[in-house]
Every structure is written in structure tokens, then in C-alpha cells.
Amino acid sequence: MSIISKSATQQREMLRTGELTSVELTTAYLEQIRTRESAVQAFVHINEQQALDAAEQIDTRRATGEPLGDLAGIPVAVKDNLCSEGVPTTCASKILSGFIPPYDATVVAKLKTADAVLIGRTNMDEFAMGSTTENSSIQVTNNPWNLQCIPGGSSGGSAACIAADLAPLALGSDTGGSIRQPAALCGIVGLKPSYGRISRYGLVAFASSLDQIGPMTGNVEDAALLLQVLAGHDPHDSTSADVAVDGYAESVTQPLSGLTLGVVDEHYGDGLETEIKSSVEEAIRVYESLGATIKHIEMPHASYGIATYYIIAPCEASSNLARFDGAHYGHRADTSTSNPTSPNEDALTRMYRSSRAAGFGDEVKRRIMLGTYALSEGYYDAFYLKALKVRRLIRQDYDNAFKNVDLLIGPVTASSAFKQGEKTSDPMAMYMEDLFTVTANLAGVAGISIPCGFTDAGLPIGVQLQSAPFHEDKLLRAAYMFQNATDWHQRRPEF
């Protein structure tokens, strides 16, 4: 059994006992990349030499008996919106091409302290805005299960990387579903922690009250391991929670007895693909066979999630992306010879407008425009404030649900991976992909997508569990129970 098919948790044990060296492990994944990456296009940057150098250093340190970090010698891929000192960070946008961060994101610093081997940076939708990774200005990433299909987004590169076994661990970010949806479409595990669980310092901000970084892995125990390494309060991020980090990696294999799962009836409407509905219902039956009790839960405001999200997220984005103006970093348009587009336009404004026009893609422009409009005088109350009020109602729906059940269970997406180009000309249709995932971000709760089946066409299906904030321990243990009773998570595409 090849080293590639083992979990990172198992690889870690083999590294510890000396059965395996980090150079061997890293070389094995670099070989995977060599043979498969041209088909998948998951990476925007591969650190081949640095990864091997780092692996060698770790092996040497281990041989001298030096204490090592929790991920010592294990390759990790990182989404291209996480700042890594001295390494190009583009967020898959032209406006940041050539940008080299002068600092590490806290999660990157934590990976380094844990002695992980940073193997490369993964493709994404530009500034994390999208559900297919087609909005990347760099390249398209292909779903390893069907190369003509999208891998999901915005963390499509990280999802494809894990599905194609190009790295054992990856980081993604999730603002409206961007970890969970690509995880479902690529047949892997993706966890969005509670808001504030993982520091956002160094994550290029899309929507500050919604963004969270999270693990994307081949199995639940690896997600628990990665969460444990990354979680915790950070003085650099004033929105990070001062809540103790549980022993997620230790407790993950312990089943939960007396587990109650809530099924939200509003989820099972007409838009849901029949095969997804059957797989999710089958997953619920598996939980029943494991002793769980199912309760039917009402979440009266769940169907307003998309409308609420597609006001709040663009509003926050319009503010966060104002910094990309050609002044301090990134692309600056040459406006020295161009004429003013309006009589009173000063040279600086012209620089801002031209730099941003040239640097941002269509979807990013659309969301900036939407947010600017919704926050402008005369519309602020009707849109932004209104959306924040509905947000509170959505949060109350969750609070009420968790008084009656431990976790919620339901679909992750309404559709399985579709063909590239299918929804790119219809923004609204694309937004509907986030139907089952946005409410978790709005409410700040945790959610995990785990593989639970395949369509007849051979495309992966995921099931989502959600927990109350800071109950990732319960979430992971319940997810592990399902994994232990099934083998969907072991399936990998053929190459």
C-alpha cells in the first residue's frame, strides 16, 4: 500500500518511528504532482526545491533527537489568499500579480512552527469570490473526477489537490461555502470552523464577519489534526475568539452516544438533485443505524440565506477591496498619457479607477459595485441594515435548533460538479450554488462536508453536519462515526 494512500495521521506516525523520512514523503507527492498536475491544474505555485530542503532539514533534526512540531515533515498546500512571507500571494487576481507579502499569516506561521513542509499554493476564484474556481485570473482547475467539470470554489485548487493526492493536507477559506462546497464536489473532507476559531490575520479579507480558514483533507482525523494546529486566539486578530482549543485530534475517534441530528425540511425542495437527496437520506439512515436519533427542525429563515449573504458579503467586500488602488502595492495602471474621463477628475482618482479596472475580474467588479450601491446613501437601510436584521433571525433559527439537537445534517450543494462554462454567464444561477452553505457563515456556526456517495455519472456527493459555535469536537466525532461505518472517503479518481 503506497504511502500516498495513508492518512496524514498515519504518515505522521511512520515519520515519528523512522519507518518513513520526510524526503521520501515529499518526493512521493512531488512525483504525484509531476504526473498529474498538468491535468488538474490545482497549483499556482509549487515550492519544489524549498519543500525538499525543508524536508531534509526536518529529517536531520529528527535524527538528532530534536523535538519537532505536530506536523513535522508533512506536506501542506495553502490557498493563494494566505500571506506567506517572501512568496508571491496573488489571490488569483491580476491586481496582486507580483505582490510579495512582508509577513506570514498566523496560520502559515503556525504551519511553520509545526514543521510542516509547505509544498505549494493553490488556485482559487479571484479574491475568493465564486463557486467554481473559474473566476481565477490565472488558470482553470479541473475536477479530478471529471476533468471537464468544475472542482467547486472558491477553494477549488485545494480541493482538487487533495482529491488527486497531490498533498495530504491543504488549507482553504470559507466565506459562503468555499471550503465545504468544493470538498463535496471533489469527494473530500472540508471543515469551516466557527467564526473566530482560527485567526484571520494574513488571510486577504473578502468579508470580515464571514471569512474563516479551515482544513481540507482526505479524511476526518486529518481535519481534526489540522484544526488543532491552527485554532486559537491571536492578538493580531481582534476577531479571534479567546476560547480554549479542545484536543480535537485526540477525541475525534470517540463516538457520540445519544447523538441527536436535526433534519431541516426546507432543504429538500425542488432544486435538489435527486441523487444528492438519496445519498443524504442514506447517510441519515447510516447515522440511525449507529444509534443517532433524527428530529425534524424548522429554520424559517433559511431560504433567505442567499439574499442576506449576497447583500452582506458584497458590502463588506466593497470596503475590504478598497485598499487595492495601485498606490501601495499591486498593479498600478499607467495613466500618464490618458485623458480624464470626466471634467473634474484628478490624476489620483484616474489612477485608482484605471488600476482597479485593469486589475479586477468581472465577478469581483460586480460584487464591489453591488456592495457600494447597497451601502450608499438612501439604500443603506433598505439593504445592508435589513440584511443584518435577517442575519440575526437566521442566527436565532440556529440557536433554537441547537436547543433541540446536537448537530444539523443535510446536503452541502443542490447539484454535483457541472461542466465548465455552464453557469459563468448567469451570476444569479451561480449564487444559488451556495444555498446550503451560506447560513453557517452568517450565523458563525461550524460546518463540515464529508463524502457520502457518488452520482451515476461518477461525481462525488457530500453531506454536511453543522454544530453550534465552538463545538467542533462534536462535529468531528460525529463525522468520524460516519467515516468509520462507510468507505466513501477512501475512493480516489483514476488517472
Partner: protein, 94 residues
């Protein structure tokens, strides 16, 4: 409740985006569709509901007023499209 092309032009100035004619047309169409969709929130009575901007129960997280090491000037200017010894250089405003 559609947006006019004029509305979109005004917003593009606020957003510091220079849009082409084609972009103004498609933006007007797409934004109108999205605005129409999000108006469904009007169906919900939120008279007695306070806005929720933030999901963590924390306010005014302050740091001690202590001088610490920070980014060097050179590191801060590293990515500047135009710079001199001390500053970022931009087109004159005055």
C-alpha cells in the same frame, strides 16, 4: 426595481472603478437582477429585530499602548509601484 445606467455610472465613481460601455450595460442588467432577487427580504418583518453585524460576543478589543517592533520602512515600501527613500509616490493631487 431596476437600476438605470446612470445609477451604475454614479456607483462606479464611488467604487473607483472605470467601466467600459459594454461593462456598464452588462453591469446594469446583472445588478438589477440581483437587487430584484434580494428584495425578497422585504417579506420579513424586522421591526423589533436588532442588526447582527458580528457573530462573536466581543466588543472593543483593545491592545495595551506599548511600543513594539513593527514592519521596517523598507519592507513596507517593498511592493510599491513607485517610491522614493521614504514614501510611496502617486500622481499629484494638488
Amino acid at each position: 426595481m431596476a437600476l438605470t445606467r446612470e445609477d451604475v455610472e454614479k456607483v462606479s465613481l464611488l467604487a473607483r472603478l472605470q467601466l467600459t460601455d459594454d461593462e456598464l450595460n452588462s453591469m446594469t442588467e446583472h445588478l438589477s437582477q440581483i437587487i430584484q432577487y434580494v428584495h425578497q427580504l422585504d417579506e420579513i418583518n424586522t421591526d423589533d429585530v436588532a442588526p447582527l453585524a458580528h457573530t462573536l460576543d466581543i466588543t472593543n478589543v483593545l491592545a495595551d499602548d506599548v511600543v513594539e517592533d513593527c514592519l521596517s520602512r523598507d519592507a513596507a515600501l517593498q511592493n510599491a509601484p513607485q517610491r522614493d527613500e521614504e514614501c510611496f509616490r502617486v500622481p499629484a493631487v494638488l
